[in-house]
Amino acid sequence: MRKLPVILLSVFLISFLASSTLPLREERGIMEVFVNLKVYDEKGALIKEITMRDPLTQAMGGFVSRLFSAASATDESGTSRSLGTGVSGPLYICVGTGSPVSPTYSDYMLVNLLQCVRASQATMAIVGNRGNISLSASFSFSQQYTITEVGLRKYLSYNYLLAHDALSPSITVPAGGKLTVTYIIRINSGV
């Protein structure tokens, strides 16, 4: 019985130390970007769907920063430009077949661009203290492609890559198949 306090203390310490093997506590950003991809076969049947959190690029940082201050961003030619105050240019969703793809904050273009499609007009929904802005685009391919990267592009006199992500594993769209890509910008206020 005298050993009980030692045993109890040992259990606590072992549990405490064991927790160090668990992943870091993750703090959610106030604003996050997700991308959802759906692959359909030539008959229109859904054959694959993935959703992932998408890293922002320096250009998206610039566009968000404009809500607070004048900001600049690097266009797809690698030139840094002042973004000004305009917003009215079109948005495109792009897919690529680059390899290897290791997205970084400094990315300003896809590794190997396959195709860009003008996105649908963005829609917005607010539920509780969360807001979602979403937009999507569909790609139809006459031949089979293995898609390894996806990006969101804004045209504002120049092309700016707002988000870039690698698909790991890659996804294969069969000949005659279709790929739909949906970007969701989520605001997690009050959480």
Partner: protein, 215 residues
């Protein structure tokens, strides 16, 4: 038998307590997106006597509306609606070809930081602070710093109090030009402090917003 059950329950409880304590002591990792850190400091006779750091509430519906306008997919003369700090809904142009940026949603002439004594929980539909004792001052021009190599934007303001007040909420607003070509002020962020600050006349309150673009 009962003692053995109690000891077993105690062991299990301690095991969970150990894991929970260990997790609490782990640093937080911010993954991607945009985060906002609010730092409120209270100074008395030049000495820091209290600091509150919060990372939870910020963006209001007005912010989302501007972001939505930024994601607008082309076209001209479209408008969107935001509520100014008086509670009046205002239309703002997403774009208008004949005013070359002047009436774009981001054409702005200033920003303000507020402190107040309200304690109403944050709502995304907030358009003003909730308290009755509210002070406002111009925010600093946002400063930019590259961090690893992401970007932090820092906006700050300082309040010298002429009378005592409890600071329990903070807000950030921006002045934008509406479609009637008048300027109005719109609340973009509001925070209810995790720990209110009881300040005396003569105290200085500094407010710093750090907007982190995490990539």
């Amino acid at each position: 038998m009962r003692r053995e059950i109690l000891v077993a329950l105690l062991l299990i409880s301690l095991m969970f307590l150990g894991v929970y304590t260990g997790l609490l002591m782990k640093p937080k990792e911010t993954k991607g997106g945009v985060s906002v850190t609010l730092v409120v400091r209270q100074y008395r006779n030049g000495s820091l006597i209290k600091e509150v750091v919060d990372r939870k509430d910020p963006f209001t519906n007005n912010f989302i509306q501007i972001l939505y306008a930024t994601m607008y997919n082309g076209g001209d003369l479209k408008t969107y609606t935001m509520k100014d700090v008086s509670g009046t809904s205002r239309n703002l142009y997403i774009s208008r070809a004949d005013c070359s940026g002047f009436c774009s949603p981001l054409y702005a002439t200033g920003n303000y930081i507020y402190i107040g004594d309200g304690t109403t929980p944050f709502s995304i539909n907030d358009y003003k602070l909730s308290g009755t004792n509210i002070l406002k001052t111009k925010g600093s021009t946002p400063s930019e710093s590259a961090v690893d190599p992401k970007i932090n934007y820092t906006i700050s303001a300082s309040f010298s109090l002429s009378s005592a007040m409890t600071v329990s909420e903070v807000g950030y607003s921006k002045v934008l030009t509406a479609s009637d070509f008048y300027n109005y002020e719109f609340l973009l962020m509001r925070d209810v402090l995790s720990t209110p600050i009881s300040a005396l006349a003569g105290d200085t309150i500094t407010v710093t917003y750090i907007i982190r673009i995490n990539g």
